[in-house]
């Protein structure tokens, strides 16, 4: 039985007060809060076995190495990868996407080639391809949106696949619209056209069961800090054959097998891409985060967030001044717990400031998706709340009350 109140108690920050009120955190799409078990795992590492990995022969170094590798094994299992060779640790999803651009892209994209992304991408899945396209003289195409700007236009996708793009890079879940894209179908269609497929899993892996083998994608990027782990740890999943054929981007310690005065040979996967001392505390924190999520079960996580989203959309539908972007409540199956919304006549920053004074943390701005947000609203900014395992219906009720405060202050009549 999913018990959000019990889960709340595992997160020390959620028992703090904000502006004298019970703190309501609704910005997990930006970064999640951390349970005590994750914080304790990091503290325990520093208190009892802090050492560098993959080299020391003494006890705590072996223990640190074991914990680091255990973290990778957990992640590989969590996303359905074959093993730790396929999970490259990086700082975050942004770095994972850039790693593909700088390594795979550098070798495989040539002048005149097409790269296909979509209009609902985060800047991290736009800018690396703009940079690569500029370096190589390649063409960057965007799949359009349809049905009230809530879904990818699959007809447009198929039309653009006819140009035989070398790479298709698509977000699994939009960080603004909350749309869950059918990445399995997109991957199948893209593969039929000979494209390599990269999925941005930053907003999906923390919130639902994601299986890279079932999707069939070639690469997937994810961030640890959005799934209960600390900042500075993320991963690139890549199919082994692809990773083996790729050149490392950073040179240094750990990534080599041997070095002479004239050259070097590369280490095995995944170490080939992990030059220098790794983020050991981050990996250990991520391992503890995966344990925590496994303890709940990702199907339960998804179910809880869908219930909250349905409830929030229901309550918002009672307020004329509020409009919600993305798929409608009737299509909750294809919607995540990310909700961008607007209050008529009120700038999102004013919404966020007034919410803050009511003890509620939400995001306002362009959400690092300017090509999308500028099409959705003339203000070029939106308010966004996003749910996670520790949110409750009471949080949604607090939001509805805060909307009332906004309307009163800003003199909005329904």
């Amino acid at each position: 039985m999913f018990d959000a109140e019990r889960i709340r108690r595992d997160f020390p920050i959620l028992s703090t007060a904000s502006h004298g009120k019970r703190f309501v955190y609704l910005d997990s799409a930006a970064t999640s809060q951390k349970p005590k078990s994750v914080i304790d795992a990091i503290v325990d590492y520093y208190n009892t076995y802090n050492a560098n990995i993959n080299r020391g022969v003494y006890e705590i170094s072996e223990r640190a190495t074991d914990a680091f590798i255990a973290s990778k094994e957990k992640l590989a299992k969590f996303i359905g990868a074959h093993g730790i060779e396929e999970t490259i640790y990086v700082r975050n999803a942004t770095e994972a996407l850039n790693l593909v651009a700088l390594s795979w892209g550098e070798r495989n994209i040539k002048s005149g080639d097409h790269i296909l992304i979509t209009e609902m991408e985060h800047h991290s899945n736009i800018v690396p391809w703009q940079m690569l396209a500029k370096r190589k003289g390649a063409v960057l195409d965007y799949v359009k949106l349809t049905h009230g700007m809530a879904y990818l236009d699959m007809e447009d996708l198929e039309a653009k696949l006819e140009k035989s793009p070398k790479l298709v890079s698509v977000t699994h879940v939009s960080n603004v619209l909350g749309t869950v894209n059918d990445v399995k179908r997109i991957t199948k269609l893209a593969h039929e056209c000979g494209a390599t497929v990269l999925i941005d899993g930053a907003q999906s892996v923390p919130h639902m069961r994601v299986d890279v083998a079932a999707i069939g994608c070639d690469f997937m990027a994810l961030s640890g800090h959005k799934m209960l782990a600390p900042t500075g740890i993320g991963a690139l999943y890549g199919r082994r054959e692809l990773l083996e054929a790729m050149e490392p981007v950073l040179g240094g310690g750990d990534m080599i097998r041997s070095v002479s005065m004239h050259g070097a040979t590369w280490n095995d996967l995944p170490w080939k891409f992990e030059a220098g001392t790794s983020n050991i505390e981050g990996a250990i924190g991520l391992g503890a985060a995966l344990d925590y999520l496994d303890g709940i079960g990702m199907d339960s996580v998804r179910e809880h967030e869908q219930e909250l989203t349905r409830y929030a959309m229901d309550r918002f539908s009672e307020i004329n001044a509020v409009s919600v972007f993305g798929p409608p409540a009737s299509d909750i199956e294809n919607r995540s717990g990310v909700m961008a919304f607007a209050i008529k006549g009120v700038h999102p920053h004013d919404v966020a400031t007034i919410f803050d004074r009511e003890g509620i943390a939400i995001r306002a701005g362009h959400h690092c998706a300017m090509p999308l947000v500028t099409q959705l609203v003339t203000e070029k900014a939106l308010s966004r709340m996003s749910f996670y395992i520790y949110n409750t219906k009471e949080d949604v009720d607090r939001v509805v009350d805060a909307v009332g405060v906004v309307k009163r202050i800003m003199r909005i009549k329904d």
Binding site: H347, P348, D350, T353, A364, E379, A381, I409, M410
Partner: protein, 134 residues
């Protein structure tokens, strides 16, 4: 942060701003935006006898940026260019009667930065460091 960040006075200014519009006979105009929050502002300046004869603004944004723009443009009419050059954050805080706090300071200073840039532009002077930091 002050308790009255959304005091009636600033909301009044936001709803019925002073000096909203363009100046067809402006000597200079300067446009600025804050891409992070989407605020946009253009200030039009008419100078005569070393002082601001008229000033208007166009733009869109939050209560703090737009409310401050209305109050600022109203308060600087007739002031000498040297007086405008000397304005800083404390003057804005005094003008709007609230401390917007670090997260919203850029909203409050958008109009001052734009106005000062217009005054420097009119005099063919480089924008000073204090203005760039606003």
């Amino acid at each position: 942060m002050s308790e009255n960040i959304y005091a009636d006075e600033l909301i009044d200014e936001y709803e019925h701003p002073h000096n909203k519009g363009s100046l067809s006979d402006a000597d200079v105009h300067v446009h600025n935006d804050n891409p992070l929050c989407g605020d946009e502002l253009t200030i039009y300046v008419k100078v005569g006898g070393g002082a601001l004869k008229d000033v208007k603004f166009e733009g869109s944004g939050c209560v703090i940026s737009m409310g401050t723009a209305g109050k600022l443009t109203e308060s600087v009419k007739g002031k000498s260019l040297a007086e405008i050059e000397a304005l800083g954050v404390p003057d804005i805080v005094t003008l709007i009667g609230i401390d917007p706090g670090p997260a919203r300071l850029k909203c409050a200073t958008l109009s001052l930065r734009t106005l000062k840039e217009a005054v420097f532009l009119y005099q063919h002077k480089a924008v000073d460091e204090a203005t760039k930091r606003l």
